[in-house]
């Protein structure tokens, strides 16, 4: 989707501000949002999760902090999946505000074990798929497509020529996985783009961008003509 999250190359945001001695979480609720998201990862996949955040209204996205966007996306998905309702959440907020928490304590050693294992095990995103069509050094052209759904081909790299830098193997396809259309794993590549191809004459010198792109984003391109 042509979303506000797709920010690569946008102008006007200003200097990158750094914070000295930055804590991991700036408030307890941020840590809870992070931990909760890890804990119920089995309820939805990472691509659904990202797409939920991308669907925030642009003005809300820009006006929110990072974990506020996570919270918004989480609630959106939990409601869409029928796990909770917005009314239920409002009611619970009112109950907690008046000092009562009706939830009985719940212990789940298996959940805990699974969550801690995830920080050690190899992720499952790499899955067997068809053999790659391209090899290192092949010239490719990215599709000029503006899908309404989730995609990981950034807008700034659509319809651009690049060169396959590395064949990563077969990975779950976010564009389908975010929409209940299956994992459809297939070849993922690191594609190198010259800065001038992306940004034209005002590009910085010697600053190529590498983007990880799935084969379905790519078409074969004719070998480069010499431009120098």
């Amino acid at each position: 989707m042509n979303g506000i999250h797709d920010m690569g190359g946008m102008h006007g945001f200003g200097r990158v501000e750094r914070e000295k001695n930055e804590p991991v979480f700036h408030a307890a609720w941020e840590g809870r949002v992070f931990g909760l998201t890890r804990a119920y990862r089995h309820l939805f996949n990472i691509d659904e999760s990202r797409h939920a955040i991308e669907r925030m209204a642009p003005i809300d996205y820009l006006g929110s902090s990072y974990y506020e966007r996570w919270l918004d996306g989480n609630v959106r998905l939990l409601v869409e999946k029928g796990v909770i309702t917005r009314e239920e959440l409002e009611r619970r907020m009112a109950q907690l505000a008046s000092g009562t928490d009706p939830a009985p304590p719940h212990s789940d050693p298996k959940l805990l074990e699974r969550m801690l294992r995830v920080t050690k095990e190899r992720p499952h995103y790499r899955q067997p798929g068809p053999p790659p069509r391209f090899a290192t050094g092949h010239r490719v052209l990215t599709r000029n497509d503006a899908p309404v759904g989730h995609t990981r081909l950034p807008r700034y790299a659509r319809g651009k020529h690049g060169v396959i830098d590395r064949v990563h193997g077969s990975y779950i396809f976010p564009d389908t996985n975010a929409h209940g259309q299956g994992e459809q794993p297939h070849a993922l590549y690191s594609v190198r783009f010259d800065a001038a191809e992306l940004w034209g004459g005002s590009a910085e010198p010697c600053a190529p961008v590498h983007i990880d792109l799935w084969e379905r984003y790519l078409e074969p391109a004719a070998p480069a003509r010499s431009t120098s």
Binding site: M7, E22, S64, L198
Partner: protein
């Protein structure tokens, strides 16, 4: 746009008291539905606040500096090479800085970052400023971080758009030939492993 800045200068759409209450309510509902436990959330928060951080990645970098065979394995298959040191949970691609190439990692679409090796990303890494500009004007951004590289050095930007995470293997600073692997690891910073800093020589610190 509504909202306010908190004490750290971050924008929020809602007051923190409301956000905090909503998160508590969400956790309470999910506990009631037996989908999460507070203990599990506590443990995850604790792991990222205490155990998982840049000191992990620094060990990987220091090993690569002292052991050329390990460096080769790390560059060829980062995922397998970090498992040798007991780290995991990430599909990893390591990119190496050389006198002619400086690598810079960004995620323009969200906030992808190698948590297992350098912890959770700082706010600036997730900021609109960094995400929009790192691909478009990396030399200007690097200068804001105090890294001024000549135009003869290629800046290689890695936009982390897939389930692969990128870690920069910085150049080993001069004057460190006698340092132990442990002492070398202490020189390595988070920012150097993202590519917005170089590792300074010990005398310069």
């Amino acid at each position: 746009m509504s909202g306010a800045r908190d004490e750290h200068g971050h924008h929020h759409r809602e007051p923190e008291s409301v956000l905090s209450l909503r998160v508590r309510a969400l956790e309470s509902l999910l506990i009631e539905k037996k989908l999460v436990s507070s203990e599990a959330v506590d443990r995850i928060v604790g792991a990222y606040e205490q155990d998982i951080g840049p000191h992990n990645g620094a060990k990987v970098v220091a090993r690569a500096w002292v052991d050329p065979a390990y460096r080769q394995r790390l560059l060829a298959d980062g995922t397998a090479a970090i498992e040798e040191l007991g780290f995991g949970g990430v599909d990893l691609q390591v990119v190496e800085n050389t006198p002619g190439v400086h690598n810079l990692v960004v995620c323009t679409l969200c906030s992808c970052y190698p948590h297992a090796l350098i912890g959770l990303p700082p706010v600036w890494y997730k900021s609109f400023e960094y995400r929009s500009r790192a691909v478009r004007e990396p030399r200007v951004v690097l200068r804001e971080f105090g890294v001024d590289l000549p135009e003869s050095v290629e800046i290689r930007i890695w936009d982390s758009s897939a389930e692969l995470r990128y870690l920069v293997l910085p150049q080993r600073p001069p004057g460190t030939a006698r340092l132990s692997e442990t002492a070398l690891a202490e020189l390595v910073t988070r920012d150097a492993m993202i590519g917005v800093a170089v590792v300074p020589a010990p005398a310069a610190r």
